[in-house]
């Protein structure tokens, strides 16, 4: 008996070991903020945002591919290359962007932790400080590889959205049609939701992370084709989960005119599968995803900043040897947990807002990436192909326009309306 279990565990371990940076990043990408955003999108707009999800998944594949390829060709991280090619001032700008986005995302992860514990009636004032301390301690002093695997397994519960989606059996024809039909509305809320969906699918930190992971694994240009498929598979997974969360929430919440007040409501979409255990299932998944991202986000941010400015870094160093590294790591956790604990702030709003911030801050990072990937002296014959550039520039520009429209609709809604009338929308 125990032998069989051991056997299964070894096999699973082997499978996971083969999995590369692409798939791992994709899993970490579907974090608390991701779940919240997709669920909100499905509950509020039904199948309306399926098209946005499809497009942003395609762009995710392209963006991740660019980062992974750059990492494999150069053997160097993104902030390293930004520093060498664009100098101190641009690097400083890029790092500020990354820091703001990641503080937001860390806050959203701790909000996810808080929510998952609240489902079991544990106050966030107990759960968040404990989990924050746990993350801080395990990363710096302990060994988090084992506990990380537990959280990773918990993430797999999100696969239950797929099962739930199949049980619900929505009008598939309509769903598939919606997936390929562009939908657009000019009101601020829709724009915000669209940017949020994009921002949670493609994150600034994800780009830094995957490139570093490729470098870290010692993948060079000759192994690159494996990474390519790994990245594609990862993007597919991201899309698959997002697609089913939207489909299930649309079929259960949107169809019954239930609006999401807290993330917990997203668990209702799992009821066709799990019945009264739905919220439990949901809370496990949310905890796993949130903790997983809470482990790597502050760490990867600290690494990226230190790399850019040449500060000492590494968890094996002491805080005296690498004060900036430890400082950034600690500050990120403290700020992230602090925002999640802010008394009158809705956890759900924190999660959504952080994804919108990610979306808004993504274009500058994308621009750096594309410029680097087009630099012949860095990339040699592996530089971006032309159609790639067309797609990535188009996407970047569309995202910038969306951001500007969001800004406009927030500060001057009337102006926005007349603008939209002008172009006939």
């Amino acid at each position: 008996m125990s032998n069989t279990i051991k056997n299964i565990r070894t096999r699973l371990g082997l499978f996971l070991a083969v999995m590369g940076p692409g798939v791992v990043t994709a899993f970490a990408d579907n974090d608390a903020g991701g779940i919240a955003t997709y669920a909100a999108a499905g509950a509020k707009y039904g199948y309306g945002l399926l098209f946005t999800v499809l497009i942003s998944s395609v762009c995710l594949a392209i963006a991740q591919e660019i980062s992974a390829r750059t990492g494999a060709v150069t053997g160097r991280g993104l902030s390293d290359l930004i520093r060498e090619l664009f100098g101190v001032k641009w690097t400083f700008f890029a790092m500020i962007v990354l820091l703001i986005a990641n503080i937001g995302t860390t806050a959203s992860e701790f909000s996810g932790v808080a929510t998952s514990f609240e489902i079991f009636g544990v106050s966030k004032f107990i759960s968040v400080p404990i989990m924050a301390l746990l993350v801080w301690w395990l990363v710096l002093k302990g060994n988090y590889s084992r506990i990380e695997k537990i959280f990773f397994m918990l993430c797999a519960t999100f696969l239950s959205y797929i099962v739930s989606g199949i049980i619900i059996n929505p009008p598939w024809e309509q769903v598939l049609l919606a997936s390929v039909t562009p939908t657009f509305a000019s009101d601020g809320e829709f724009l915000m939701m669209a940017i949020g969906v994009i921002g949670t699918t493609i994150t600034p930190w994800g780009q830094f992370y995957i490139q570093a992971a490729v470098v870290d694994k010692g993948i060079t240009v000759k192994d690159y084709r494996y990474v390519f498929w790994d990245v594609m598979l990862g993007a597919f997974f991201t899309w698959l989960i997002a697609f089913f969360i939207i489909v299930t929430t649309a079929a259960t919440l949107y169809a019954n005119q239930i609006s999401i007040e807290t993330v917990k409501d997203a668990a209702m979409a799992l009821e066709p599968l799990a019945g009264k255990y739905a919220s439990m299932l949901f809370s496990f998944g949310l905890l796993g995803a949130s903790m997983l991202a809470a482990f790597i986000l502050p760490l990867s941010t600290a690494y990226a900043v230190c790399e850019a400015f040449g500060f000492e870094s590494g968890v094996s160093k002491t805080s005296k040897e690498a004060p900036v590294f430890f400082g950034i790591f600690t500050v990120l956790i403290v700020l992230g947990a602090g925002i999640a604990l802010w008394p009158d702030l809705s956890l759900y709003k924190v999660m959504l807002a952080s994804q919108v911030i990610n979306g808004v801050l993504l274009p500058p990072i994308l621009i750096f990436m594309v410029l680097i990937a087009n630099n012949v002296s860095v990339m040699g014959k592996y530089k971006n192909s032309n159609w790639y550039n067309v797609v990535s520039w188009t996407f970047t520009i569309v995202l910038i326009i969306l951001t500007l429209l969001l800004l406009l609709s927030t500060i001057a809604p009337e102006l926005m309306d007349s603008l939209m009338k002008l172009i006939g929308l």
Binding site: V24, G75, R76, G87, K89, S145, A212, S300, G310
Partner: protein, 430 residues
């Protein structure tokens, strides 16, 4: 006595972008970059690039005055007076600024935030030389125009003699200089540096090391890094290094490679070296057989201490440890052991047979590392012999081979984490 006068000292970054005026006050352009030539002790500035996309340079002796406000030339500017970039000259901003370099003093990789220049007058000749690189926080914020925030900080300047740029540099003069500098580094420091480099720079770096330096540095790395480096290396060089390495280390690396690759490398190695390694590769991971080295020292029981000491002088450089001397018969059966101390204090005319301990502590090739560690610990040994069922000595496991397994570096633990970034974006896999 040489006449030596300092005309000015500058931070390169604050000169960048300053306008250049000629004698009649005409604006020629901006200081875009400076070309440097390194043929003496200090790299010297040869000229100023005054416009983008031109390789015509204003010669450095044309400078009348130089300040953070402007650069003034002695004469009127004419395109004929410019010089062209020599092939061994290098633009400092493109070559050094914001780049990573090796800090030979601290044995680590650092980033250049700024460069200090000294403008001197020597024997009526004006020269501008690179003095140091700024690797500190203050330099970083100077670039951002926020130096005042760090007024109380000392500048972290690294003298020119202590740096080694990572970018390719083709002057042979400098290469010799580098080789000498690098040989002064401890192999463990060199290993750390190499682990921090990206794979291209690392390959370039290893190319500049001689075989012994490369092997010493490799021996200080963890297995993952060793495997990565050997995998990425040119096959001929890799096989040369493996040949020279301790056979147990070579075997450890080779078993991690694909069969195809390791066979390819073994075929390139000398036959008897390859044979040793192949034998070690047969043992399963973490057993005494896989841990042991075949380079131990053994003598016949009939020798005298004096003869042994003479032989030791020849054998010692090859062997992993010489503190234990094993005594074997014709068929390599282990008969006894004695320590170097016992050998030295023994009467020169005695026979090893009389000196050796015959109560032997040994392990079998299939014992796991736990058992080996227990034996070494219990008897307080520096090394334990590995013998087969017939009592033939196969090799020895030294205490440091065991320590590597029992006490992994903390950094190494992280590599078992899927999400770990032990080496973020090219930084050290510590």
């Amino acid at each position: 006595m040489n006449e030596f006068k300092i005309l000015g000292e500058f931070y390169f970054c604050q000169l960048l972008g300053r306008p250049i005026y000629d004698k009649r006050g005409r604006n020629i352009g901006k200081l875009r970059d400076m070309a440097v030539r390194w043929d003496g002790v200090y790299p010297q500035i040869v000229g100023i690039q005054y416009a983008n996309k031109t390789h015509e340079l204003i010669p450095i002796d044309q400078i009348e005055s130089c300040s953070y406000k402007e650069v003034r030339l002695k004469e009127n500017f004419e395109i004929e007076k410019t010089i062209t970039l020599h092939e061994s000259d290098i633009y400092i901003s493109r070559w050094l600024l914001d780049k990573q370099i090796i800090d030979l003093k601290g044995s680590k990789i650092v980033r250049v935030n700024d460069i200090t220049l000294s403008w001197i007058m020597q024997e009526n000749l004006q020269r501008m030389v690179l003095v140091a690189v700024d690797i500190g926080v203050r330099g970083l914020f100077r670039r951002l125009g926020l130096e005042f925030l760090f007024k109380n900080y000392k500048n972290n300047l690294l003298g020119w003699q202590y740096i080694k740029p990572l970018e390719n540099w083709n002057s042979s003069l400098q290469l010799n200089h580098e080789k000498q500098q690098l040989s002064e580094l401890h192999p463990a420091d060199m290993a750390d540096l190499m682990e921090e480099m990206d794979y291209k720079r690392r390959a370039n770096f290893i190319d500049h090391l001689d075989d012994q330096q490369a092997i010493d540095a490799l021996a200080e790395m963890d297995l993952d890094s060793q495997v990565e480096i050997i995998e990425q290396m040119d096959e001929q060089r890799a096989s040369d290094l493996l040949e020279e390495m301790a056979p147990d280390e070579a075997a450890d690396i080779l078993v991690e490679l694909t069969v195809e690759k390791s066979e390819g490398l073994l075929k390139l190695m000398e036959l008897d070296d390859a044979q040793d390694v192949r034998e070690l590769m047969q043992y399963p991971e973490d057993t005494a057989g896989a841990l042991m080295t075949t380079e131990f020292i053994a003598f016949s029981a009939d020798l005298t201490p004096e003869e042994v000491i003479n032989q030791l002088r020849e054998l010692a450089p090859e062997a992993e440890t010489i503190y234990y001397l094993y005594v074997i018969d014709q068929a390599e059966h282990l008969q006894g052991v004695l320590s170097l101390r016992e050998l030295i204090v023994a009467s020169p005319s005695a026979r090893l047979r009389e000196l050796m301990h015959t109560k032997l502590v040994t392990v079998q090739p299939n014992d796991d590392h736990q058992r080996v560690a227990e034996v070494i610990n219990k008897y307080g040994l520096l090394a334990v012999p590995v013998v087969d069922e017939q009592g033939i000595i196969l090799g020895i496991v030294t205490v440091d081979d065991i320590i590597d397994i029992l006490i992994p570096d903390r950094g190494k633990l992280d590599t078992y984490s899927w999400f770990a970034l032990s080496k973020w974006g090219g930084r050290g896999r510590s």
